[in-house]
């Protein structure tokens, strides 16, 4: 196989966080162990919640760019999103999920973000 790097930084390891996810994806079988099913359901729900969170955050950033919000409103929005972010992190930890686990490829829908 030819070298596919056209430009790479010296600290290439920074980009390697995806690799375990690729390996995990390959078996492609459903594991019917009840505990894993619960985790799978949590993963699905958190993925949808994360998608909505990112969409709302994107919308908030647009409104800030538009300059229609007061400083107080921006601060309150920021606090809300920061809290949501923290809460999502807690839930992820609780179910043993990583950031990548709840970041599915959503095909054309993914481009909304």
């Amino acid at each position: 196989m030819r070298d596919k790097f056209l430009h790479k930084p010296p600290d290439l390891d920074l980009f390697a966080s995806d690799l375990p996810r690729v390996e995990d994806a390959l078996p492609g079988r459903v594991n019917a162990d009840p505990e894993r099913l619960e985790r799978g359901l949590a993963q699905l729900v958190l993925t949808v919640v994360e998608l909505l969170r990112q969409l709302m955050e994107r919308q908030a950033l647009r409104r800030i760019d538009g300059g229609t919000l007061s400083e107080d409103q921006v601060e309150r929005l920021g606090q809300t999103f920061m809290e949501l972010d923290k809460r999502m992190e807690q839930l992820r930890t609780e179910f043993g999920l990583t950031e990548e686990d709840i970041n599915l490829h959503l095909g054309p829908l993914g481009r909304l973000l």
């Binding site: 196989m1 596919k4 790479k8 908030a60 950033l61 800030i64 920021g78």
Partner: protein, 205 residues
């Protein structure tokens, strides 16, 4: 069962014997197929498919077909080509003479925004806005050198951009030079550029 690996325009390119490929021609298009096998899916199986596509890509413009696209026999392949002739011919025209180049951009941990938690809600949103702006700047700068581009949904963490560019075969060198310039101009970022790949991200309009 046979598996469709790639679609190209007539006439069929010379096929490497080692890959057990055969060509099915219909409606001015050529599907390059292999007998379907049941071997388990591993990274090395996918890499050998990739190698085969890259060898073919040196000889012709092609549309890579999703791994595991299987049909009954050659007649079924010919039917698929005839039914989707317009769409496939259009996609082939779009990628003619071009290859895919992928770019990922990370922000390093040395940047203040990733080491310290934001002090206020305003700071939190400000850092989000800054990330989005950096991603847009890089994407637009590279997009100007490409025939088409596509950006994937933002990933969590320090990844600011994950994008693919459809670049003329002869322009890959200047595209990579631009990546190196951007890296020099933005030392807080890490730019990774890989390719040339078959045009995976540009097979449908």
């Amino acid at each position: 069962m046979i598996e469709i690996c790639a679609i190209t325009a007539e006439p069929p390119p010379p096929l490497p014997e080692s890959d057990n490929l055969h060509a099915v021609c219909s409606a001015g298009l050529v599907a390059l197929c292999t007998p379907a096998d049941e071997q388990p899916l591993t990274p090395s199986v996918l890499w050998s498919r990739e190698e085969m596509l890259e060898k073919l890509m040196e000889q012709c413009d092609l549309l890579p077909v999703r791994y595991g696209s299987r049909v009954e026999d050659d007649a079924a392949v010919a039917r698929v080509l005839a039914e989707r002739q317009g769409q496939l011919a259009e996609a082939l025209e779009r990628v003619r003479g071009a290859v895919e180049v992928a770019v990922r951009v990370l922000e390093t941990d040395t940047a203040p925004s990733t080491t310290e938690p934001p002090a206020s809600g305003t700071d939190y949103l400000r850092s989000k806005t800054r990330h989005a702006k950096v991603a847009t700047d890089v994407h637009e700068a590279l997009g100007r050198l490409a025939r088409a581009s596509t950006q994937q949904a933002g990933r969590a963490g320090s990844e600011l951009l994950r994008a693919a560019y459809l670049v003329d075969r002869g322009a890959v060198g200047s595209f990579v030079e631009r990546v190196a310039e951007l890296q020099k101009a933005k030392p807080q970022l890490r730019l990774l550029c890989t390719g040339p790949w078959p045009p995976y991200s540009f097979t449908s309009g």
